[in-house]
Amino acid sequence: MSGQGKGIWDKLENIPREVLYGILLVVFVIPMLFPLGLPVPISANVRKWYATIDALPPGSVVMMDFGYSGGGEPELGPMAVAVYNHLFKKEGIKVISMSTSIEGPQLWDKAIAEIRPEQSYGAQYGVDYINIGYIAGTETAMAAVGKDLRATTSTDYKGNPLSQYPIMDGIVDATSFDLLIVYTTGGDQSEGWVRQWYTVYGTPYLCSVLAMMIPTMLPYQNAGQIVAVTSGAMAGQMELLVNVPARGIKSADVITLTHLLCVVYVAIGNIAYFAKKAQGGK
């Protein structure tokens, strides 16, 4: 065995992180600048989400929780925008949003600025959609809104009385809602809604979380407590179904290429490890 050969396997087994990061950055930036249009299959859970919203009859009322923080916005924001687009495209659906995350109102504003409901769909604030703002207390807030929304908050996120908005007519408690949609970066929120709304009122519940939270939410989905769990990384699939391509579909190329790069890194690491071992190294 040559000393040079051993050196090569040694180097491949311990590639400096600067090199790993540099290649990752290049693989990340190229598809962002020049989208490759790689195929995006629609997963069963995204289809179930879409079908659940599509089956809502006119006049249905949806509660939406913007329960994510700024750090999770790049992942969950595109999903929230795609789903909002779907809801606005449907006739006569009312969407009432709240936030169990303190940053929620700002992130809701960001999503609405992207959708532009007035210009794109002729939807009106206070008639077709509204935001009742951040309600402190996480699970206590969910329980309180479910029990008596008007007793919990009497104003929207701008501080205007809820009584002045037609969308709030007849909205009393959780039984006034036909569907619950939650985007969240927190386990307290995603699991709390199961305990405080699904278990008590049986409200159908769609949940979108960070990809790494999926395993913790699957037991609820498999038990039928959540209709479907998706990760924000599936936003591209939702955008394809809703036919409003945006940030999500762009990131699908990035996800494919970066995952492939990770597989290549793992393969290099293992080949180097075994080659070194075969040469008698440790």
Partner: protein
């Protein structure tokens, strides 16, 4: 202060409130008011709203506490700390002033949020991707049976979650579904049920005064005698 004030009364309040909330959750009592709500329902509604108010108050209290804590660092010129404390207080003041005078839904507030906190927090979270990539490269090595299983499962999950790869290798979909729906879910259920049993046990101990951590520091005598 007597043990009654420090322990007995707080524990009694916790026990009564917990029992009321549980009654409302599990027992259907006859409607008593015109809205068809029972007395437990209306009482618990009020308790929940108190909880929300207290949580909101604690946010403000936390900000005051931050001021107190970091002001001490600034006044003492704590090395490698005081300038960060000063910066933190400046940022709090800017956000508070803009929020109070222009409103938290104003364009000014949104601008400083989007230009500072949002951009930074998204960047910090996104940078995890780099650490994870480096971690994968170093951790997924076939060194023994356990790490071999870890490697195979990791590769299946990686490839399945790459959208385009799943199109060309559809066999990955049922494999990953089996790992998620059967292996992961069953393990996760065990963890969740264990955690829930622990929470029930903690709740009972708290209601009966055996768990006093939430009361702050108590002497052994105040805790209930000092005997194990």
């Amino acid at each position: 202060m007597s043990s009654t004030l420090k322990k007995t009364i707080p524990v009694a309040i916790v026990a009564v409130v917990a029992l009321l909330v549980m009654m409302d959750y599990f027992i259907v009592t006859p409607p008593v008011n015109e809205a068809g709500k029972s007395w437990t329902s209306t009482t618990v509604r009020d308790l929940q709203n108190w909880g929300i108010i207290l949580t909101a108050f604690s946010l403000g209290f936390g900000a005051v506490n931050l001021f107190y804590f970091h002001s001490k660092h600034i006044s003492r010129r704590t090395p490698d700390q005081w300038m960060f404390s000063l910066w933190l207080l400046i940022v709090i003041v800017i956000f508070t002033v803009v929020g109070v005078f222009y409103g938290p839904t104003s364009t000014s507030y949104s601008w400083i949020y989007n230009a500072s906190y949002f951009a930074l927090s998204a960047t910090v979270y996104s940078s995890l991707g780099f650490y994870m990539t480096s971690g994968l490269y170093r951790a997924l090595r076939f060194k023994n049976t356990e790490s071999g299983i870890f490697l195979v499962v990791g590769l299946i999950a990686l490839l399945r979650n790459a959208p385009a790869i799943a199109v060309y290798f559809p066999v990955l979909i049922p494999w990953e579904s089996f790992i998620s729906d059967v292996l992961t879910t069953s393990a996760q259920r065990g963890i969740m049920i264990g955690g829930a049993l622990g929470a029930i046990s903690l709740g009972i101990r708290t209601m009966t005064g055996r768990e006093t951590g939430f009361l702050g520091r108590l002497t052994e005598e105040e805790k209930g005698g000092g005997a194990p």
